[in-house]
Amino acid sequence: MTSRPATNLRSWADTPERSNMLMLRIMTWISLRLGRRTGRVVLHLIASYFLLFAPASRRASRDYLLLALGRPAKANDLYHHFFTFAATIHDRIYLINRRFDLFDFEVHGEQTLRSMLVDGKGLFLMGAHLGSFEVIRSIGRQNPDLRVAMVMHQENAQKINAMLAAINPEAVQNIIGLGHIDSMIEVSQRLDEGYIVGILADRTPGHDTLYPVRILGADTYLPTGPFRMAALLRRPVIFMTALYMGHNRYAIHFDKLADFSNTARGQRELVMQESIVKYAALLDHYCRAAPYNWFNFFDFWQTTPVAMSGKKLTAHSDPVPAPAPNTTSTITTTATTTITPS
């Protein structure tokens, strides 16, 4: 992939969530008044709008689909990609309103999840911006014995909770906001209470240490924070995705990612690295299996980090040594990209 101008750099905090919220707002209005069938007509308008008027998203989609499909994407591929994104957001409205009857969920690996919950201690569920994470929260709502708390950026958490409250006040989520001194202590306490703690582990809040991986045959980086958290708290980690398969069908997959329950302190780094690599392999697998479900509409496969001086290195007066190949590097993102129609 070619290098991108600074405005297209990996961003996390506001980009897709912002467009998410705008779309959600529009579609909530339409859907709750006109029903899912009519609401879906609007999805075509939204997909067309993105295809025509969101060049940054279009470029990101095209670059991604080239890797995932193994051939240059055609216009209808891009359309399909945007439509899938819009469809999952649209369906959130119904999921939040507990209209589970509208959907056909095909669950793979539920036993993996159940078997790791037997001791009543919580675990981590790591998802990605791949498919619908709302579906997992729905599972939590359908099964009162499964309590789910989501870890997310505070600003997004507030927006999402405001939106959930508007759609269905009972649906307000148990959300743990990142960026507080005690964010992780709260995570720890939820786990002790037996909660499933969900996190989307494919994006960084801008200052996390990154680990180089290969996904879809191209180099990229994943944040180490979520894995470090799981390792410290000595919990099992299960990968989860709910892929949209068209119409009203979702394929939910649970895969065991790691179990830090008995990981000795000295082994922590190694097991963490192995689990990041496995997470990358699962993303690779499901991107190929359901290519239109990838919802990172920015240049995920950045060739090199913007700055090698990460958050914890910037204060050093000495020059930061260049990382050796196959070691972690840190990235500081300052630029943001937007896919919000404006």
Partner: protein, 107 residues
Amino acid sequence: MTQINLIPAIASNPATAVTPATATAMQLEVALLIVECLNLEVTADQIAPDAPLYGEGLGLDSIDILEVALVVSKRYGFQLKTDSADNKHIFSSLQSLTDFIVAQRTR
């Protein structure tokens, strides 16, 4: 993974890393625990008792704070409470963390 990326840096202003004469023996003991569990590049006596541990001060993130919490609660034998306001205060500086340990320790 290279160790270097996991090492929080000292504050960019070198003045904040100078030990005030008021650092107590107990504060130094806790500082040493922090330095050891996070593999910090600073020495225990370079952590100013009143400087913030989180963010701008010592440069710890919330996962570092968790690691410190796990280590001190194990070492001194107490459980952290769920009260968020308390935790924000406890982990605000070496001094407040040490005060809390002294009040709560069972060993």
